[in-house]
Subunit: 436 residues, 2 copies
C-alpha cells in the first residue's frame, strides 16, 4: 500500500494530470492519492489559495467578487474540459461560494481549492473522492485525533479500495474546517500514510528530489539520494524548502519512508527519507538562514554563578521568546534568536537582562546561520574541520561556531550579507573534497 | 608605587630571601611586600600550610603535637639564623601555639605561616611589619570591606613608608581570622595593589612567566609575554595554574597591570597581564581540563518549544549545579558540567529531565575540554579553523565545538583520555604555523 501526494505543479493542467494518471495507475499499490490545489501554470498565474483568501475577504466585507470567483472557476473549468470529465464542477463550486455568508471562516473558503481539485482527480482516475472532513479529525486544541482519524481512514480505504483525498484540511469536533499551515497538503499525506500503514509515502513534486544545497546558490547543486529524518528536519528548520517540516515527524514515528519524486521525470530515483539513510558522503546537505540576532552577556566569573543562564532564560521566556542557540564562553553566554521573534521586544529584553543580572549585554543583528548537516558530523572531526578550513581559505570571518555532542548539524554564524556566498563556497569546497 | 608579592619558593631559605632583598631594594617604588609562607626547599619538604592544618587537628583533638610543631618552628628558626636576624621568632611562635585551646579556628592557626614569615622578611628588609588583620577587613559574608580596608592600608603606607604584609588572610568584623582559599596570598597582593593604587602588581614566582601551554605536555612550551585579563582568566578557569584566579578581577577593575616575574631570574621580562595586551600571535594560550560530563537532551522539534531549555535549567538549578556550556543543535541541547558537581546527583537529574521534559537524555562521562584562548578568536576564522585542522590531521575525533560570539576562547570537547595528547598536538601544530 502506497500513499501518493501530488503538489500543485503536478495538478496545474490536463497535461500534468495525464502524468499523474500514468504514475498512479502504473502501480496497483498506489491506493491513496492526496492532492493540493491546482498550481500555477506559468509565472503569471496567481495561486488558487491566494485567490481563495482574497475571495473570502470579498465575501466577509460584502465587496462584489465576480472577477476573483471567475478566475478561480476558470481554472477548474479548464481542467474539467480538457480532460472531458463532464461533471459540471463549476456549477457546484458557484453554488457553494454563493451560499456563503459574511461569517464564513477562511478555512471554509480556502479548503475548497484542494476539495474540488480532489473531486476532479477522483473522477479522472476512476477512484472514489473521500472528503478530508470525513476522515481527518482534530481536537479543539488543533491536535490530530489519532484514533478517530485512523479508524475513519482505514474504513474508507477498505470500503472504496482506491481513494482521492484533498490535502491541507480536516475538521474540528464541531465539523468546522481546520487548515494546516501553508503547504499543509504534505502533512495530510503524512497522516494518511500513517493511518493506512503505507509501505512508503510518495511525495510527487516538480523537482527530482532534495538538493544538497539551494540550487540558486550553487550551479552544480546535487540531489541527495538518501537522507535521514533527522537530517531532513534540520535542513528544513534552517531554511531548506522541501517538504513541510511538520510532515516528517508522523512518518518518522511510524517508520514510514518518504520518497520525494518528480512527476515530470517519474523514472528519476528521487530522494528517500528514512531512519537509517546511508549517505555516500559524510555531509548530506547545507542550508543557510538569515535574520538572526544575538544577545551576548558579558560578566566576569559568570561560570561560577549557579543559575545565571537560568535567570537569563527566565527573562526570555517572559517575553515568549524561543532561543535557537546558546553558545557559551568562560565569561560570556550568547542567546541566538530569530529576529522576528524579538523585533518589538529586543530593547526591553536588553534592559531587563542588564538590570536583573547585573551584566553587560551586547546586541548584534543581521546574523546569518549556516547549517551543515550530516550523520557523520556526530563525532567525526573531518567534516567539522573541513567546513572551517573552507571559510578560512575564502577569508570569511565568523561570529560563532557550535557543534553539539551527538548532533548531526554544525552551525556557523556569519554576517548576514555573507551568508549566500558562504553557502556557495562551502558547498563547492566540500564537493571538491568529495565530502558532500 | 609598586606592590610586590613573593610566593613560597622565593621565601624557602636564606639564599632565596637574599634574592628577594636584592629585588625589593633595587627599586624604591617597591613599597608594599606581600609574602606567602616559606615554601618547600626540596621535594621532600612538607608545605608549611599543610603542617599547620595538621597541627590544628592535634590541638583540636588534644593529641600531642611536638613533632609537628618542631617541624614548623625549625623552618623559621633556620631562616632567622641564616639571616642573623636575632629576633627569637621561635619563642614567639611557640608561646602563641601553646596558648591555643581546643576551640581555636583553623584560620587562627594556619594564617601563622604567612604571619611569622612576614615578620622575618620585614626585619630582614628593614621594613615595617603590618599585620593583615589590621588592614584587610571582611564582612561577615566573606566579602572584602573595601572602604575600611582601603583606608587602613593607605594609612599604614603613609605612616610607615615601606611595609611587609602577610598574605592569605584578613579579619571578620569581630576580628576572627578569615582565610582566602589556598594560594590566596596572590589575592592579598591584588587587593594591596588596588588599595595602594599601585602602578603595577609584581607577582614574583619561580617561573619566568605564564606558559602558553602546560610545559609537562609540550617540551617547547613558550612563555607568554603579554596577555589580557580576560585571556588569563579563561586559561585559569580551564586548568592553567598560574595566579589564583580570584586575584585577577580586583586588578582588572582597577586597571592595574599584573607582572609575573621570576625571583631566580629577575632580569627575565616575565609576563605582563593588562587590559589591552598586544599578543604577537593570534592565539595566546592553550589549556585542558578533565572531568566533564555531558547531558544531551534529544527531543524532536525542541527548537519550537518555547522555554524548553529554561525548564531544563530549572532542574539543574534545583540540584545546585552550575552549567559550564550548553551547545545546541536543532533537536538537541547538551549541558556540559564538571562531574564533581553532579557526582551524587547525575542519575536523579537524568530521571527528572526525562520525566518533566518528556525527552531522551544521554549521559556521557569522561569528557575533556580543550580551551584555546586568544583575543583574535573573537571574529577571526583563522585560529578557529586551524585548531580543528590540526585535530583532523592527528585523527582526533571531537565531542563538541563551541566558539561564542565575541569570545576569546574556543572550546573543544574530546575523550578525556585524549586530552593530554590533544593539548600537545594542538600546541605544536599552532607553533609550527606561527599562530601561538
Amino acid at each position: 500500500m502506497i500513499v501518493t501526494k501530488f503538489g500543485g505543479s503536478s495538478l496545474a493542467c490536463a497535461k500534468q494530470l495525464e502524468k499523474v494518471k500514468n504514475i498512479v495507475l502504473s502501480n496497483p499499490e498506489r491506493c491513496v492519492v492526496v492532492v493540493s490545489a491546482p498550481g500555477k501554470r506559468n509565472s503569471d498565474d496567481i495561486k488558487i489559495t491566494d485567490l481563495l483568501y482574497t475571495l473570502r475577504s470579498h465575501i466577509k466585507y460584502g465587496v462584489p467578487d465576480n472577477d476573483i470567483l471567475n478566475m478561480i472557476l476558470s481554472r477548474y473549468q479548464e481542467i474539467e474540459e480538457e480532460l472531458h470529465l463532464d461533471m459540471n464542477i463549476v456549477d457546484e463550486m458557484r453554488n457553494f461560494f454563493n451560499s456563503l455568508d459574511k461569517d464564513c471562516s477562511s478555512g471554509e473558503v480556502v479548503s475548497r481549492g484542494e476539495h474540488y481539485c480532489a473531486k476532479l482527480v477522483a473522477r479522472y482516475l476512476g477512484f472514489t473522492f473521500v472528503d478530508a472532513a470525513d476522515i481527518l479529525f482534530f481536537t479543539f486544541d488543533g491536535d490530530i485525533d489519532y484514533e478517530k482519524s485512523q479508524a475513519a481512514t482505514k474504513a474508507a480505504i477498505e470500503k472504496y479500495g482506491r481513494i482521492v483525498v484533498p490535502g491541507f484540511y480536516g475538521v474540528y469536533p464541531n465539523n468546522d474546517i481546520h487548515l494546516f499551515s501553508r503547504g499543509g497538503s504534505d502533512i495530510t499525506g503524512a497522516y494518511m500514510s500513517v493511518f493506512a500503514k503505507a509501505s512508503v509515502y510518495e511525495n510527487w513534486t516538480d523537482v527530482s528530489g532534495i538538493y544538497a544545497v539551494d540550487p540558486r546558490l550553487a550551479k552544480d547543486a546535487k540531489i541527495i539520494r538518501s537522507i535521514s529524518y533527522d537530517e531532513l528536519r534540520e535542513l528544513s528548520c534552517m531554511g531548506a524548502n522541501v517538504l513541510h517540516e511538520d510532515s516528517v515527524k508522523p512518518c518518522q514515528d511510524a517508520e514510514i519512508p518518504i520518497h520525494i519524486l518528480n512527476t515530470n521525470e517519474p523514472e528519476n530515483e528521487g530522494t528517500i527519507i528514512k531512519a537509517n539513510a546511508t549517505s555516500l558522503t559524510p555531509i548530506t546537505g547545507i542550508a543557510g538562514k538569515k535574520g538572526f540576532v544575538s544577545f551576548t552577556l558579558h560578566k566576569r566569573r559568570m561560570s561560577k554563578e549557579i543559575g545565571f543562564v537560568y535567570r537569563a532564560l527566565k527573562i526570555f521566556t517572559k517575553y515568549n521568546v524561543n532561543i535557537e542557540h546558546l553558545p557559551t564562553g568562560m565569561n560570556t553566554v550568547s542567546f541566538i534568536i530569530e529576529e522576528e521573534n524579538v523585533r518589538s521586544t529586543m530593547h526591553k529584553i536588553v534592559a531587563d537582562l542588564e538590570s536583573e543580572l547585573d551584566c553587560e549585554v551586547e546586541l548584534e543583528r543581521d546574523i546569518g546561520m549556516l547549517a551543515i548537516v550530516g550523520e557523520e558530523m556526530r563525532e567525526n572531526i573531518i567534516p567539522v574541520s573541513s567546513v572551517l578550513e573552507i571559510l578560512k581559505e575564502n577569508k570569511i570571518d565568523i561570529n560563532c561556531v557550535v557543534k553539539a555532542p551527538d548532533e548531526v548539524t554544525m552551525l556557523v554564524g556569519v554576517k548576514e550579507s555573507l551568508l549566500s556566498s558562504c553557502v556557495s563556497v562551502v558547498y563547492s569546497g566540500l564537493r571538491k573534497q568529495g565530502l558532500i
